[in-house]
Symmetry: none
DNA sequence: AATAATTTAGAAAATATATTCTTTTAGATA
DNA sequence: TATCTAAAAGAATATATTTTCTAAATTATT
């Protein structure tokens, strides 16, 4: 084995550990995965404490360190300690940086975007009406099949809802407009079903069209949109208005995604509680 | 002096130290102010290192600890260590706190989920490596066509990226496995293109397979996944590890969504800026 | 199935670390 | 300034932690 330069930063070390992981012995794998899962504790605990928590021998930790070229445990632990000391700047510092300098590195954008998303989530918590939420979940719970339709920017929402419902064993259908057949797909919705739609400005006419059609036929519709004057408002039974943040005209999705997740989980928990015996371990 | 309960949290300790500060001896004041100024280092360094940095004798540190009622240096240092561990909490721990004692109305769930999402976003800001982000955007910028592939829970990410890139006029292809042809779709990727993949535990083999194939063929791959030991790590050029929170085993998506958005916007802004540089005075 | 090679556990040794104790220094009081 | 008291330094000691080493166990190879 030739002399490779030892990683001196946590990130480099993670890369190396990831790369070599598959070639490690069972016990060393165990340690690698403990260390990567609990880097902070690994930095602070003594070798005995870490050994205990990772359920290995102290000597195994020394072997682990040596397997990556270090002199011993203390050496590799220092890398983890450095990470803790160099932890990113505080919240306040970051905010200042965001406000003052207007450089636009992807990192700056990420910070701006994260901040914007956080604000929207806090706003969502304040603004959402608990009763509406409960009603929506009730409608979903009663439905035989839950149909979902959204396009363009809202499509990820639909994809998420469809995936979650399916994987929790609920009957769900995604109207995906395959072959341009969205109307035919929507026609399938029957009285015992319900429909979830989502659409944001500029509103996709298809979505409001399907929603209107279902609504006229007496089918329950839950809508997620961005404004009280959205075309979905008049054609839905329950309509959530979620304001989304935007950075450079790129609109975020976190708040509506969070709402969608809450609906799905609300249903899941409800189902889980009543169907506890049937699906004891289901996620 | 009667037995007062010793502070067990960092915040309490800070209060006590502040209160007693004026009555401390010169050397102990020196230590107090060092400790409060450098709580992280104080937590990690040995007594000798701290003594050195604070320019005092090791024994003075013991006296310091005893002045506040602790048995010795190690005891008071533990408080500082606890702070460091709680600063970078495991989400599991925090979420448990959120969970406990709450009912499970959809509204409660939304609040829990929003909190979880917010923490994730903050964590993302701390953990992300600016340079990696910049590199990823550079790869995207150089590519002729950007291919995107993700399935199941990660699929909404792919849908979002695909939609955004397309709507900003970038050539993009979503590998959507229509007709089970994902491999054939992936074969289309050429040397001048790049691939973005996303996959979370339990990892979809298709995604790592496509990623590995592209990577072997020398195509740049940017991966979004959830752990350093993910199967995507070894088969990608740039790999982001985003820890996602979960509520009742429903995993969130905000952090990775935010990351994806930053990549896309980073590219958008970059394109805008570089064209401006080329045609500085042009309309 | 037997042998070799690797990995692991656990105890022993070496090292590092924290604490105590004695001596020295500094500061306060008369 | 002399005397007393409190604080500090530094060496000595006790404790804890890490590392090494050997025997046992596991895994791979013939």
């Amino acid at each position: 084995m030739t002399e490779k330069p030892l990683p001196t930063t946590y990130d480099d070390l993670v890369d190396i550990i990831s790369a070599k992981y598959e070639n490690l012995s069972k016990r060393l794998k165990q340690i690698a995965s403990y260390a990567l899962d609990n880097p902070s504790e690994f930095a602070i605990d003594t070798i005995a404490e870490t050994a205990d928590k990772a359920a290995v021998q102290p000597s195994a930790l020394v072997r682990f360190a040596k397997a990556f070229g270090y002199d011993g445990f203390s050496d590799i632990q220092k890398i983890f300690q450095k990470r803790l000391l160099e932890k990113a700047p505080s919240y306040a510092t970051r905010l200042k940086a965001i406000r003052s300098g207007t450089r636009n590195t992807p990192y700056d954008l990420l910070n701006q975007f994260a901040e914007a998303n956080i604000r929207q989530l806090q706003y969502l918590q304040q603004e959402i009406q608990p009763e509406k939420l409960a009603q929506a979940v009730r409608l979903m719970d009663r439905a035989d099949t839950i149909y979902i339709f959204a396009m363009r920017r809202a499509f990820p929402l639909a994809a998420y809802i469809y995936y979650s419902l399916s994987s929790m064993g609920r009957r769900a259908q995604l109207i995906d407009n395959t072959g341009g057949l969205y109307m035919q797909q929507a026609q399938q919705i029957s009285k015992n079903d319900m429909l979830i739609v989502a659409s944001f400005a500029e509103y996709t006419p298809y979505v409001s069209q399907v929603s209107a059609d279902a609504h006229n036929r007496g089918i329950s519709v839950v809508a997620i949109t961005d404004h009280p004057l959205s075309p979905l408002t008049p054609v839905s039974n329950i309509c959530f208005h979620v304001k989304e943040a935007s950075v450079y005209d790129f609109r975020a999705l976190s708040a509506s995604m969070c709402l969608a997740q809450s609906l799905v989980i609300g249903l899941g928990v409800k189902g889980y509680i009543s169907k506890e015996d049937i699906y004891p371990d289901n996620g």
